[in-house]
Point group: C2
Chain length 348, copies 2
């Protein structure tokens, strides 16, 4: 499997596959400054925890390129990184990558050096992400039995990373090994990343996929039609609790109830030891319009309120294993999470 | 609360509020024959287990009106009832009401008698449904504590019945008694009956409502923000298992996990003693288009399969109580279900 064209540095801009237009149109947008990139992240032209981290790393390059050298250079650069930090609150990869770039920046002497060092660092982060996807794919595929039917939620694929995916990296590798019979993809309301993105990716890879309403997954699990649930994550807390797309928690409950393995696939860039438990994770609240209309059609009457959290928290106790690029973590997680991260520079 | 204008007999036609057009437009359609009514049931212009039962009862009147008297009258009439029976498979009210009308028909001597008797019977069924709603509302409201925030799924309101509802009858009555702080309504993919219908009904009644993605309900329940879950049903089996709109089962799992009462509100016309357990209930499968597009917008790529069941089964063990017009049934249900139905003519 080759990486998807999720994001690519073009010398003076970051080219993004505009995920808002999928599956109908394959359209690219070139972000030439931090404002346009921040808009792209906020409106989900690029999304997925690893992908927005790497996009922000290239955003730091854009920040340096688009800030005049001079006495206000450092302040101007940092303000642009602050803007990127403020785009989305839940995925920790965004903050990790921005912190790494701030550190890289601090070690440089002038604007030209900074641009060069930031670009090298962003390229490194992208390469690490691709390597991590390949490792997670291999480790995860080992856990699946032959002829598996698996269920996934939202999009944790090449579109959510630098191009190879987290949960879908496992599915791609397992498919290559002949272990996958079929994938069920929750449609994932309200933005339908399962319908629009995951099924698009899987069809592109030749893997059979059936899309279902999120609320139908529990019946499928109860009926014994799912061998494993495989999802990504936006943040892994020190105790092994995870935040992921809204709807992950009820899936985990159904899997637990019916004895189906529930796997979370997340690179180390998604781990956050400064978050002790899932209850400390800030959950992004999204707007009414995502629930109130689709295209021209109005779905909600005037006067109806809404509650639209983008993520939920699944406790470690409901997770069979977390697969990261360094190994497979099984509950109780906390000690293993700390061991896994021991010696990983980016978290020191 | 006055009954909603869900369905009304107009002398020679059945007028339906076209629920496909809500919440944008309040449009009525007049069904003058069985074909148009069958189409309205199949395409959900009228939906909800009690409402389609009563609509079919009036459909029997239309069947008699639109069949010429003569040697083929009986056969022609019965064929039209068969057509109504074939519209939707899961809600048992449809079959009950059609069986009642067949029995009424058998006792009549000619076409004029039949039309008169069928109409009286349909009017009786409608009146019974309204009475049942009022009783269930009173019995259910007794179970709620003051200042309750309740969660409901799909539409089990006046639009799903002759005009007063099942789950929403309880909420209306509890609101009148000052027991309700707020209602959360699952949007209920794929046809969004929660967004389009339940919120429309509740706003009309002046009751505060927040709509949420179906998959967000588990978080709301875990966070202690829901005092009771209240849903309707399309069929209650002899052992107390129930079929209801897809997504009911994961709600019940979350409620059970977090100790929140889970109430099912269903008139006796929804009970089916010939169905021993939920596993015997035929679950309607709906079409791909409900998942693949909304208005002009394509949501699924070519080649993506789908799984779109309209209902799921919730086991009696996950249900706190079933509220019917004769009382409140708590598990273990089977004996109580049989006692409740003892002496109810329509099931003999």
């Amino acid at each position: 499997m080759d990486p998807l064209p999720t994001l690519k540095w073009k010398g003076d801009s970051l080219r993004l596959l505009d995920q808002r237009e999928l599956p109908c149109n394959e359209v690219y947008i070139d972000c030439r400054d931090v404002n346009s990139l921040a808009g792209a992240i906020r409106t989900l032209a690029v999304r997925g925890a690893p992908a927005i981290g790497i996009a922000a790393a290239y955003g730091a390059v854009l920040a340096a390129i688009t800030t005049d050298s001079g006495p206000d250079f450092i302040e101007g650069f940092q303000a642009k990184l602050d803007k990127l930090s403020g785009t989305r609150p839940t995925a920790v990869n965004l903050f990790h990558c921005i912190e790494i770039q701030r550190e890289v920046f601090r070690k440089t002497g002038n604007r030209e050096d900074a641009i060069k060092a930031l670009l090298e660092s962003a390229d490194d982060l992208l390469a690490q992400d691709l390597d991590a996807s390949r490792s997670m794919g291999r480790l995860g595929a080992e856990l699946l039995k032959p002829d598996s039917t698996v269920l996934t939620h939202c999009n944790a694929g090449g579109l959510a990373t630098a191009g190879l995916g987290t949960a879908l990296a496992v599915i791609y590798e397992a498919w290559d090994r002949g272990l996958i019979r079929k994938v069920y993809a929750d449609e994932t309301r309200p933005l339908l990343q399962g319908s629009r993105l995951t099924s698009w990716e899987l069809i592109r890879a030749g893997i059979p996929v059936d899309v279902l309403p999120d609320s139908a997954a529990a019946s499928l699990i109860r009926d014994g039609r799912i061998d494993a649930v495989i999802v990504g994550s936006d943040r892994v807390a020190a105790n092994g609790d995870i935040a992921n797309k809204i709807g992950t928690y009820p899936l985990a409950l159904a899997a637990l109830k019916h004895g189906v393995p529930f796997y979370v696939v997340a690179p180390l860039s998604t781990f956050d030891l400064s978050t002790n438990t899932g209850s400390e994770i800030i959950i992004e609240q999204r707007s009414r319009v995502e629930l109130s209309s689709y295209g021209e059609r109005q779905l909600l009457p005037e006067g109806a309120g809404y509650w639209n959290p983008a993520f939920d928290v699944t406790p470690a106790a409901a997770i069979t294993a977390i697969i990261c690029e360094k190994g497979v973590i099984s509950p109780p997680c906390e000690k293993t999470v700390r061991n896994m991260l021991d010696g990983v520079d980016m978290f020191l």
